[in-house]
């Protein structure tokens, strides 16, 4: 049983972020829905990644940093706001 959890948990980790509709994922997904231990593991793992993503705040390139970069590359004549 524990070995089964261990195997499944590895599979859950590998498949997270992949396409769960793929046939190879179906079996793991069915297991998650039937096994409380793996369900908790999956939910908390998913929440962890979600929290990391929410915690990540991309910054706008500061004007000064952009200006120094363009100067360094001898491209000051083309100094524009970076494309998004």
């Amino acid at each position: 049983m524990l070995n089964d959890h261990k195997k499944r948990i590895k599979e859950i980790c590998d498949l997270m972020g992949e396409d769960f509709n793929a046939p190879s994922c179906r079996e793991v997904l069915e297991h998650i829905n039937q096994c409380p231990t793996c369900k908790v593991y999956y939910d908390t793992l998913k929440k962890t990644v979600l929290l990391c993503q929410e915690n990540d705040c991309p910054e706008e390139l500061p004007d000064e940093v952009n200006r120094r970069l363009m100067n360094l590359l001898n491209l000051r004549d083309f100094l524009n706001a970076p494309e998004k």
Binding site: C13, M16, T44, L45, K47, L51, L61, L72, F78, E83
Partner: protein, 196 residues
């Protein structure tokens, strides 16, 4: 003009074409370096190093990989070189033996649905930042490229020049490590709530 045409012109020394590439990717490169190094000054250094390398090596870019992959590889390597120079002591992430032990010895508590679990919890945010900081370069780079930047396993593998299987192994260990850190924190809270 598509990117391939812009690159061809930039290779011929066309400054306007080069500036288009710089303007298109500079913010992404800055943020990638910032995510890996967590320091704005060093992120700027990596940004400059990356585009200096682009200037020097653009003639040898043969288009076998996409320009984005090539650029990201340069920036990731520059960031990782800096991270390694710091010689910080990272958390060792062992594979199977420790993991098996943790599966055997603990009852998983579901904190994922707890409404108090949010980034407004400053202590949790600090724990999360500290945990990511403790990830060694090989795990941090994979986790950032795949889970934060949202790149595919294939792209991550091409950027880091490692096999897709290796990406999956490193990603699995990084995710498990971060989950365990947060679980230690939240399980204690959830359990104490019910004990009271």
């Amino acid at each position: 003009m598509n990117e391939k045409e812009i690159i061809t012109l930039a290779k011929q020394g066309d400054k306007e074409a080069l500036s288009k590439l710089v303007n298109k990717y500079s913010e992404r490169i800055y943020n990638l370096a910032l995510r890996i190094l967590r320091n704005r000054e060093e992120a700027e250094d990596v940004l400059q190093e990356t585009f200096i390398t682009v200037l020097e090596k653009l003639h040898s870019f043969d288009g076998r990989s996409s320009f984005f992959t090539w650029l990201y590889r340069i920036a990731t390597n520059a960031s990782l070189m800096r991270l390694r120079k710091k010689k910080l002591v990272y958390q060792q992430i062992s594979d199977d033996p420790d993991f098996q032990e943790s599966v055997e010895s603990r009852v998983f508590v579901d904190w994922s649905q707890d409404p108090s679990v949010s980034l407004f919890d400053k202590e949790m945010k600090l724990k999360l930042d500290a945990a990511i900081n403790k990830l060694s370069d090989i795990y941090r780079s994979v986790f950032i490229l795949r889970d934060i930047e949202g790149l595919s396993i294939k792209e991550t593998s091409a950027i880091l020049n490692i096999t897709e299987e290796n990406v999956k192994i490193r990603l699995r260990r990084a995710r498990q490590y971060l989950r365990d850190i947060l679980s230690d924190y939240f399980e204690e809270r959830v359990v104490s709530k019910y004990v009271k």
